[in-house]
């Protein structure tokens, strides 16, 4: 986006030479009209600025759309960025706006502005700018701009941009009478397979009540048929891929929520009902780090997320260790009591957070590098935050695996969980290992909290929503097996997402729970059963 803006500024510079002083008065008049409370006046002012079709108009309209335009009493325009830096948009104006007023921008205005700006950008020498503009125009139909688009199409050399422009003109062409244009439009639609144009294509195939085709030309109908088929095929594929992706992302959320529990419950057999609250603490740590960045390092505030990962780990791990030392260690071997006691702990943690941070949710913003998404193909958006969560889940799993399999601590942990007495007699301090294991499990839960803060709300009750799911994942996967937790989480996520469109969100979830209950009854040890005696210890 900043790159794009730079290009636009370059454009401005190119066009600056052409602006004549005679038109300047009209412009300042229009600019002042932008602040009028009469929406009609504002609209006509925008159209009048648009009609100039020069670089200055473009930069003014862009600033207006971004809600960063200010107009002073003399009708000079400024772009005032969020950080307060000012760009003068009217030549010869003073460097800072005096009593500058930001015009109100509402949806109505935005709907005019977006295609208008796109049409202005069509003349850019840069191909990427033109392509993006053409895509914008294809997304937002605006018949009034058709002449501009047609003109741009006639001079366009790049085939990619050309295709998008043809697509932008398609609805208009299809409702016209020119057979060649209609065919061109249908081919463009077929090539894009964009579901947005399905209603247009279907209109071509409509019949009158007496059963005759509205469209007389069979060639056009044939083209429309194949365009429709292409759209439907694409929709089918991307429906499937979409559900798989959604399932994968839900699975990784479940995995992150459950991984900490897979350690504390799976390995140590501590029924930690406060596990959800450790997730919540991880999320709140993220919030605190974000706040610190906003107040001390506002220029790098996007990086808070990277920094919050270790912080959340350490904070949750510390609280975990504290819990283990003060309470949980008295309960080893008495799982049911642990359950009740940790339930009490979770109540206390929730209320503490509520008293410190308030009962309301707190804002955790997605950093710009994971905000938004890429529309891989029309109708299917790969959102960056989801991709980031999937990757993050992979990293955390790798971290846990490494910790357990490749470090001396991991060796001790495995030894103690497999045979405590034997491990103790080999000189391992089981108490210390317990403490560290629980700490790491809690820390991993904190990492899960970081991820959850990017997707949902951060509030005192955050953890309560995940506790049942987490236990389900661990139990389904098989207690004590990391691979089981992995399989459990992704299996649940994907099945859930495949069921959701068929059965609806609620019934889908119920079906999943019933399935888990039945599955555990068939295979009490979960997907990945431990072999031998370890399975009997519970």
């Amino acid at each position: 986006m900043p790159k794009l803006f730079a290009k636009i500024l370059l454009l401005c510079a190119l066009f600056a030479a052409f602006s004549s002083p005679a038109r300047a008065d009209q412009l300042s008049e229009d600019l002042r009209a932008l602040n009028s409370s009469d929406r009609g006046k504002v609209e006509s002012a925008v159209n009048s600025i648009l009609a100039r079709r020069d670089a200055q108009a473009l930069s003014i309209l862009v600033a207006l759309l971004d809600d960063q335009l200010q107009v002073d009493a003399a009708g000079n325009a400024y772009r005032v960025a969020e950080d307060g830096s000012v760009t003068v948009l009217s030549p010869g104006a003073p460097p800072k706006p005096e009593n500058g007023k930001p015009p109100l921008v509402d949806n109505q205005l935005r709907r005019t502005l977006e295609p208008a700006i796109a049409s202005l950008r069509l003349t850019s020498p840069d191909k990427d700018v033109r392509l993006e503009a053409a895509e914008d125009l294809a997304k937002r139909r605006n018949d009034e701009l058709a002449p501009v688009v047609r003109k741009a199409l006639s001079v366009e050399k790049d085939s990619e941009v050309k295709a998008k422009l043809e697509l932008a003109l398609a609805p208009l062409d299809l409702s016209g009478t020119d057979v060649a244009l209609k065919l061109r439009a249908l081919h463009a639609i077929e090539a894009s397979a964009d579901p947005n144009f399905k209603p247009d294509v279907e209109r071509v195939l409509e019949r009158t009540p007496s059963g005759e085709f509205v469209e007389k030309n069979p060639e056009v109908r044939l083209a429309a048929d194949s365009a429709k088929a292409a759209i439907e095929l694409r929709a089918l594929w991307f429906g499937l891929i979409g559900h798989l992706f959604y399932g994968l992302s839900l699975g990784s959320v479940l995995l992150l929520a459950a991984l900490g529990l897979a350690i504390t419950f799976g390995l140590m057999r501590v029924i930690n009902m406060a596990h959800g609250e450790l997730l919540m603490i991880g999320a709140y740590s993220t919030y605190v780090v974000q706040k610190a960045f906003q107040s001390y390092l506002p220029d790098h505030s996007d990086w808070y997320l990277v920094f919050s990962i270790p912080v959340a780990f350490v904070v949750s791990a510390a609280i975990g260790v504290l819990l283990e030392r003060s309470v949980i260690r008295f309960f080893y071997g008495r799982p049911l009591e642990t359950l009740l006691c940790t339930w009490g702990i979770s109540l206390i943690l929730i209320q503490t957070v509520r008293l410190i941070f308030g009962a309301q949710n707190v804002t955790v913003a997605n950093p710009s590098f994971i905000a938004g998404g890429v529309e891989l193909l029309p109708g299917f958006v790969l959102t960056y935050s989801r991709v980031a969560v999937i990757l993050f889940a992979a990293v955390v799993v790798a971290f846990v695996w490494f910790m357990l399999q490749r470090t001396p601590l991991g060796l001790h942990v495995r030894a103690v969980t497999q045979n405590r007495a034997m491990a103790a007699s080999m000189g391992i301090s089981t108490r210390r290992v317990d403490m560290w294991t629980f700490g790491i499990g809690s820390g991993v839960a904190g990492l899960g909290g970081v991820a959850l803060s990017q997707l949902g709300n951060v509030g005192p009750e955050l953890g309560q929503g995940y506790i049942v799911d987490s236990f389900m994942v661990v139990v389904l996967g098989g207690v004590g097996k990391l691979a089981g937790t992995l399989a459990g989480a992704f299996g649940l996520g994907i099945v859930n997402k495949l069921l959701e469109p068929v059965a609806g969100a609620v019934l889908g979830k119920i079906a999943i729970l019933v399935f888990i209950i039945l599955f555990i009854q068939r295979r009490p040890q979960g997907i990945f059963a431990l072999k031998g005696r370890a399975a009997e210890v519970s």
Binding site: R39, D67, D106, N107, Q108, R110, R111, E114, K139, R140, P195, N196, F197, K198, P199, D200, H243, Y246, S249, L250, V253, Q351, R354, L355, F357, G358, A359, Q360, N361, V362, T363, V364, A365, N366, A371, G372, G373, E375, G379, F380, V381, T383, Y384, S385, R386, L455, G456, N457, V458, G459, P460, E461, G465, K497, E500, P501, G504, A505, V506, K509
Partner: protein, 471 residues
């Protein structure tokens, strides 16, 4: 088979004794008052009434401070306490101080009923301000009707109700949902042709959407162009639903009407933003998202989405400036979390108006007697922070309220894009629902009924004729 009788006896008896004492030990004045009642006993009035005519006036506050609803309800408790403090500083009501009794029903619906009973019977409060969810209101309603209590309910709700014992200071559907949909239908709002009615699966969204469906069909929208979807409470994964909305909307101007509740809004809006649904393409109008809810959301990607309320913090009136300044000062003085960033919202304004109206009515009635105050509340007017003079409808117990439609701004505030000329009268029974369209809520003579198709009393003459016969 030996049972240690003494142990058990002592234990259980002690327990019963403890339980009897337990709840009343919290506030000892009640028994003390009745204990020193000998002089009052000579008077014809019962002891309790005599006691309640002097000393502070007790006012119940019934909002969840823990559990899932704490997120919304705690600030209503705070704003109620603030308003009570203001009234006390101005000399109280009937020259007596107001004494708030705060209880925590913990987002637990049966507990709401229990606490309501306790407030009325034990604390003998003169009025209760509280509840947020429809189910909590439904849960306490029988209690208030049975014990003749007085409840002020400050949240927008689904309508289809009018109780003699409740005053509704939030919006009925025609004061929120219908104006918003009309706006989105018009050229200004984008001229939506297809509608997605998206909500959490409970009675408020169901009813609102039912009313909207009838309304939309009456405006000629075909059934095929309406998509209705519900998600469970606490639903946090909106990937599929947002993708469905996109698919449904393809190529046609579409608007989403969201009655998604509470916590689910954050994941919904985050998903919306990340999948690139801009307000200028598919505007979402929400009826449960206000300033307080936006505090938990990164609002930059939401710019342009809409909300409809009867009040917005950004409304520029002197009354509102004072309301906001008072609230911020109160938050600071009481050390509420995040005091400098506290916002005001519609239910808070409704709470504020409700308490003011009750205080005025009690002043006017010259007593806190519930029947007298109830008669006085009708026709009370308050100059509200929204800048309008708001009045209580004596007939259906709802406020006349103005409607504002506003777009989300990047700073988490709203920019009003449309408002009604003046306050609109609430329709307790929606004319769009066939079963309700003939119902009348009118607590004045000769109807005296919240849910009737004909008046309870035929005419004054008929009543006059009936009266001597009854004597």
């Amino acid at each position: 088979m030996k049972i240690r009788i003494p142990t058990i006896l002592v234990g259980v008896l002690g327990l019963i004794a403890g339980a009897c004492k337990g709840p009343s030990a919290g506030t000892s004045p009640a028994p003390a008052e009745s204990a020193k009642a000998p002089d009052a006993a000579l008077a014809p009035a019962p002891a309790e009434t005599a006691a309640s005519e002097t000393g502070p006036i007790k006012v119940g506050i019934l909002h969840s401070l823990s559990g899932t609803m704490a997120i919304s309800e705690t600030s209503l408790k705070d704003v109620a306490l603030m308003t009570i403090e203001q009234i006390n500083q101005a000399g109280g009501v009937l020259k007596r101080k107001l004494e708030p009794v705060v209880v925590d029903p913990a987002s637990n619906w049966p507990l709401f009923a229990e606490k309501a009973r306790e407030l009325i019977q034990k604390e003998k409060v003169s009025v209760v301000f509280g509840c947020w969810t429809s189910v909590s209101r439904k849960s306490v309603l029988p209690v208030f009707e049975e014990l003749n209590g007085l409840l002020f309910y400050p949240v927008q709700y689904e309508g289809e109700e009018s109780s003699y014992n409740v005053f509704y200071t939030g919006a009925a559907p025609n004061q929120q949902a219908i104006p918003a949909v009309e706006y989105l239908m018009g050229a200004k709002g984008g001229g939506a042709k297809k509608w997605v009615l998206l909500g959490t699966d409970y009675v408020y969204p169901r009813t609102t959407n039912k009313i909207l469906r009838y309304f939309l069909t009456s405006k000629g929208v075909p059934e095929a162009n309406i998509m209705e979807k519900y998600t469970p409470f606490g639903h946090s994964d909106y990937q599929t639903i947002v993708a469905d909305v996109k698919k449904f909307a393809a190529g046609t101007p579409t608007a989403v009407v969201s009655t998604i509740n509470g916590d689910s809004n954050v994941p919904f809006y985050k998903e919306l933003a990340n999948q690139g649904l801009k307000a200028s393409d598919i505007p979402v109008v929400a009826f449960s998202v206000g300033e307080e809810e936006l505090r938990g959301i990164d609002t930059k990607p939401l710019v342009g989405h809409l909300a409809a309320w009867n009040y917005f913090m950004s409304i520029d009136t002197p009354e509102n400036k004072k309301f906001i300044a008072d609230w911020k000062a109160y938050a600071k003085a009481k050390n509420l979390p995040d005091a400098d960033k506290r916002v005001t919202n519609d239910p808070m304004e409704a709470t504020y108006i409700g308490i003011k109206m009750w205080a005025q009515a009690a002043e006017q009635a010259g007593t806190t007697n519930i029947d007298a105050v109830r008669q006085a509340i009708g026709y009370q007017t308050v100059k509200a922070p929204s800048g309008f003079v708001i009045s209580m409808d004596a007939k259906n117990h709802h406020l006349h309220k103005p409607v504002f439609i506003a777009e989300v701004k990047a700073d988490g505030q709203f920019q009003v894009v449309e408002k009604t000329e003046g306050p609109i009268r609430a329709q307790a029974w929606s004319p769009f629902i066939p079963e309700s369209s003939k119902k009348v809520a009118d607590w004045t003579f000769p109807w005296v009924c919240g849910n009737c198709t004909e008046a309870k009393f035929k005419s004054e003459a008929a009543v006059a004729a009936a009266e001597p016969a009854a004597k």
